[in-house]
């Protein structure tokens, strides 16, 4: 696993030095600070509206960072031939794919942690109470971003960045319209449909109920299953590719 971590470390180090990630974080800070300045909400719902907008903003920012970090990572390394001197060593293709994903998801972790800290801090300052439930929403967003990163990495092992971006956006759309398309669990396709709805917990967090520990554990298992499947596909695709 040392080689996986070495690749991941290189990805994190490279990503941290790209200013775009931190510009997005800074932009989020400005947006979060401006949410309470929106026109007056009804009494008692101001906090809920804040949580909903803050999480929605975190979601968008996390997805932007995910796409920026993952869409062109492997194609760029192949195009610039940086990957040659890595894979000519004792590094398996699957280790490279897994390390790349791990590096992206760790960077995303740092970025979503920063987003979370911003919206948590602003919420506390503006409303005088620590909104601990926000962290549930942040964790769900990070996991969903991790799945999208795994998808991008998998697709990018065999195709161009523009197609990866289109595939990621299409998947994001498809994965959130299961209820609209299939109605409910009575539809036989419901359980095989690729859905990420499990990670959309903005509403319960915004309205103060949050989700149970069991739900969080299930969500984590779904996350692990998605990532395992996509990373495996990415490793298979990359292992068959001539560089």
């Amino acid at each position: 696993m040392n080689r996986v971590f070495a690749v991941a470390r290189a990805v994190v180090s490279d990503a941290i030095r790209r200013r775009l990630v931190w510009i997005v974080v800074l932009f989020s800070l400005v947006l979060a600070a401006s949410i309470p300045m929106l026109p007056s909400y009804g009494v008692g719902v101001a906090e809920a509206v804040y949580r909903e907008i803050a999480l929605a903003m975190t979601y968008v920012a996390a997805m932007v960072v995910t796409l920026v970090l993952s869409v062109a990572r492997i194609p760029g390394e192949v195009e610039r031939r940086t990957v040659y001197s890595v894979l000519a060593r004792d590094v398996r293709r699957w280790e490279y794919v897994l390390g790349t994903w791990l590096g992206i998801v760790l960077t995303l972790g740092a970025a979503t942690l920063a987003f979370g800290a911003i919206i948590f801090g602003v919420g506390w300052v503006m409303y005088g109470e620590p909104m601990w439930l926000l962290w549930q929403g942040v964790a769900a967003i990070w996991m969903e971003a991790g799945i999208i990163a795994a998808l991008c990495v998998a697709v990018s092992t065999v195709t161009l960045p523009v197609i990866v971006a289109i595939a990621a956006l299409a998947f994001l759309f498809i994965a959130h319209v299961r209820a609209d398309l299939l109605g409910g669990p009575q539809n036989p396709l419901w359980h095989v449909y690729p859905s990420l709805d499990a990670f959309n917990i903005i509403a319960p967090v915004a309205h103060g109920s949050g989700v149970s520990l069991m739900y969080l554990a299930t969500m984590t298992a779904v996350f692990a299953a998605w990532v395992a499947m996509l990373t495996l596909l990415g490793a298979l695709g990359f292992s068959r590719r001539d560089l």
């Binding site: 940086t82 001197s85 060593r89």
Partner: protein
């Protein structure tokens, strides 16, 4: 007891790479080469000859369509590649990294501890002429400096085999000389070097053996002296004050070059004694008598011309 032959550092047997199925094209066909341990082996060929594809198959970057690949006596898989260093042609590294960070990454990928990489970094940078540049971002490196740091990353784990694809590309004459010295130093230390290069003078200066590829096939191979020595002719170097050589010598000589009263020419081996006697009798000083040797450039050019002629004849006959 039978003689034990040393295990070749690199052995490629009947390598083949086809692209695009039956209707596609063959980039490499039936290429075999053996590199002796501790030697510098040159891999030559014009653009598109299949050099880089062969190297990539050896290093697992391209999947071979056929053939066997061995490094240090083991199948050329990831495990044995821990003992190999590779410099790709025109290497590119993240400009956001410093030289120290790049070497740390590649050292860690090769299974070295962070402290081992750190201990080796300054020595390695000095060896490639980048001393004191450890903390400089690669964005500030010139083309030649990137080439040097590329060589350093190939050597970071003290590999037993080094594969260099155009290592002198982008270097000035001093840099090219440094790379030559570096390769010869590696060979002296027992490291095997497989060098793919367009720079024939570089290959001729450092390589013990060469394999020449053309159209994806081995066009020639062997010890460089065997390839370049011209059978049946001897080169004579003589100094004299006369403006012409004696008539008896003129009738035998070929490939004449004159500079500052020094004449260099070749004669048939059978005529060497007679030519020396004639020159001696006429007051000429003999400076050297050596087997006639063509330059690698001459050999390479002639071989490509012959290959082109054969291809044209085949096309006409069809």
């Amino acid at each position: 007891m039978a003689d034990m032959k040393p295990v070749p550092a690199i052995r490629i047997e009947r390598a083949e790479k086809r692209y695009g199925g039956a209707a596609g094209f063959t980039a490499v066909s039936d290429v075999s080469l053996t590199v002796s341990p501790g030697s510098i082996h040159g891999l030559l060929g014009p653009n598109g000859a299949g050099k880089t594809t062969t190297l990539k198959m050896l290093l697992g970057l391209v999947r071979p369509s056929g053939g066997d690949f061995e490094i240090l006596g083991e199948p050329a898989g990831p495990a044995v590649r821990a003992r190999v260093g590779f410099l790709p042609e025109q290497p590119y590294f993240s400009p956001l990294l410093t030289a120290g960070e790049l070497l740390m990454l590649h050292g860690r990928l090769s299974g070295m501890s962070a402290s081992d990489v750190s201990a080796r970094t300054s020595t390695l940078l000095a060896r490639v002429g980048l001393e004191g540049r450890e903390d400089t971002r690669l964005a500030k490196y010139s083309r030649g400096m990137l080439q040097r740091i590329g060589i350093a990353q190939a050597l970071v784990a003290a590999p037993e085999v080094v594969v260099l694809d155009e290592p002198a590309s982008g270097l000035d004459p001093v840099g090219q000389r440094d790379v030559r010295d570096l390769m010869m130093g590696l060979a002296e230390d027992g490291t095997t070097v497989l060098l793919s290069s367009h720079q024939l003078s570089e290959v001729e200066a450092v390589c013990d053996e060469v394999t020449i590829l053309n159209h994806g096939k081995v066009a020639a191979e062997g010890a460089i002296d065997d390839l370049l020595n011209v059978a049946g002719r001897t080169s004579v170097r003589a100094r004299g004050t006369a403006t012409t050589l004696p008539a008896d010598v003129q009738s035998l000589m070929e490939d004449v070059a004159v500079s500052g009263g020094v004449w260099v020419f070749s004669v048939p081996d059978s005529a060497v004694r007679a030519v020396v006697d004639i020159l001696d009798d006429n007051g000429w000083a003999i400076e050297a008598i050596l087997p006639k040797r063509q330059s690698l450039e001459e050999y390479f050019g002639r071989m490509l011309d012959e290959s082109r002629t054969v291809a044209e004849e085949q096309a006409v006959s069809r």
